[in-house]
Amino acid sequence: MANATLSYDVLVVGAGIAGLQASLDLADQGRKVLLVEKQPSIGGRMINLSKVFPTLDCASCITTPRMASVAHHPNIDTRTFAELKGLRREDGRFRATLRQKARFVDGARCIGCRSCEEACPVLVPDEYEHGLGARKAIRIPFTNAIPQLALLDMDHCTLCGLCARACPTDCIDFLQKDADTEVEAGAVILATGHELTRMDAKPHYGGARLPNVLSPMQAERLLAPHGAYGRVLRPSDGRIPDSIAYVQCAGSRDRSLGVPYCSRVCCMFAAKQAMLLSGSLPTADITIYYMDIRAFGKGYEQFVANARAMGIHFVKAKVARVTEDADHNPVVRLERQEDRGLPEEVTHDLVVLSLGMLPGADPVLEDFAGVRAAPDGFLESPQAPLAPARTSQPGVFAAGTATGPKDIVDSITEAGSAAMEAVGFLRRLGEGRP
């Protein structure tokens, strides 16, 4: 190889809250970290939330400072819009192939001014708003994205050139190509996160088919301080909803979906969203249909008690299906468990399906020497009771939802533990006894 391969102490894959925290916990100990994120911004799912339970801190308020610390840390190199394409072990170190996806923008020259975005004539449903809002074909991914660099979605570009003409720094490069690079590292932390179960995983719940049946992330964007609509409206016609229902376990605790486990966060985010909804729509009726309320974290029980006290209805019921009437009002067919369980139908303005968590799709794991997934699909942690961050491969550690559903605080804690495992591994490596 003519090119010298960049070398790091630790490669952290995934820049959600777990990856950010693990990187900081390593870098603050003087370790050199390469943080790789496949999305165009760091921040993961947390930066996309409205507020967090149980503190009701605004999610972007408390995530952006942490993102900024990572971005400015002298010991952390960050690559966004980059994917891990391969990882192998050689002479006791890990070698990774990274694919830098083309942004079609020169990152060194872009000043984040959005002139290109203003000029672009193509509107595309905005993935950051989960389809509720719109973006341009070239855009800064979202207001507090880090880095503040534009990126062009070539699939929606007509090559009209208006963006290039508007750019004050001539930074748009329509000819940019994906580029692979090799890096090496002594240890690896996988913070590859999670996906949600598909909206149509339970077709009888109407997800992805009925316009007023939303995913939890769409509901977050309804509630976020500068979300798609800037307020809570229902997507079918922009009406301010008066009756909103949550269907719990709509993607968890269900063997038929291959998700027999509990997704851990849905009870709490439903209670949180319900509280926020009742704050912005004081007269609205809000109901949570649930099997068990799992408010097990610190301060969570009291949080749910507050939600009940605010008048949120918690109804223990089995939801059979969700249909809609002629005005697109979702109709929930259910059996209450606290009453004589006769089937009944309740009409709401808006229904949120509390989807479950699935392992974050990461194709690399398939050819990833020695790192196994458990039968639930998440990374196996064979030494779980005492060393939960260890995977089946020495030197590769896991943090956050890579090893199963987890809330933010548990992800942060585990990230610290993964960082310490990596530090210990590096020292043993240095002493020649990995």
Binding site: T55, C58, I62, P65, T143, N144, P225, H226
Partner: protein
């Protein structure tokens, strides 16, 4: 990109326009980035507003506010970090201090509407604009 702005030098030397100046005290952790978010969203507010950033406005003594009124500021908005303030007890101390400043303002016959303590987070764009609009009204009413 538009034309580079050229402003008549007389307009610059003419001092302020019609409005009295509003001083806005913001925190490094919350309200200063909050003010930036307003700009990032290309929203707009009155230009007679001057933003200072400090670790926490709890550092300003009572006199600081009174002197600013003496110097000619029409209003002062104190945008604190509130409950997510990184400093223990700072918000309580600050609000106690502002309460004392109110008493002194009353003694001096300065309308207490010209000073307001509020909390602004890093993405409170609407609240930021609302506070400025309200303070503008308060200042104009003088």
């Amino acid at each position: 990109m538009g034309q580079a702005a050229v402003v008549d030098p007389e307009l610059l030397k003419a001092g302020q326009g019609n409005g009295k100046k509003i001083l806005i005290l913001t925190t490094l952790a919350s309200s200063y980035p909050g003010a930036n978010a307003v700009g990032q969203a290309r929203l707009s507010y009155s230009p007679d507003t001057y933003i200072f950033r400090v670790p926490d406005p709890v550092m300003f003594p009572d006199d600081f506010y009174l002197q600013c009124f003496d110097k000619g500021f029409g209003g002062i908005l104190v945008m604190s970090s509130g409950s997510d303030c990184p400093y223990e007890g700072a918000y309580q101390r600050l609000s106690a201090r502002i309460a004392r400043v109110y008493l002194k303002m009353k003694e001096k016959g300065i309308s207490t509407r010209r000073l307001k303590l509020t909390t602004i987070c890093t993405v409170c764009r609407a609240a930021f604009l609302k506070e400025i609009a309200e303070m503008r009204k308060a200042v104009a009413g003088e």
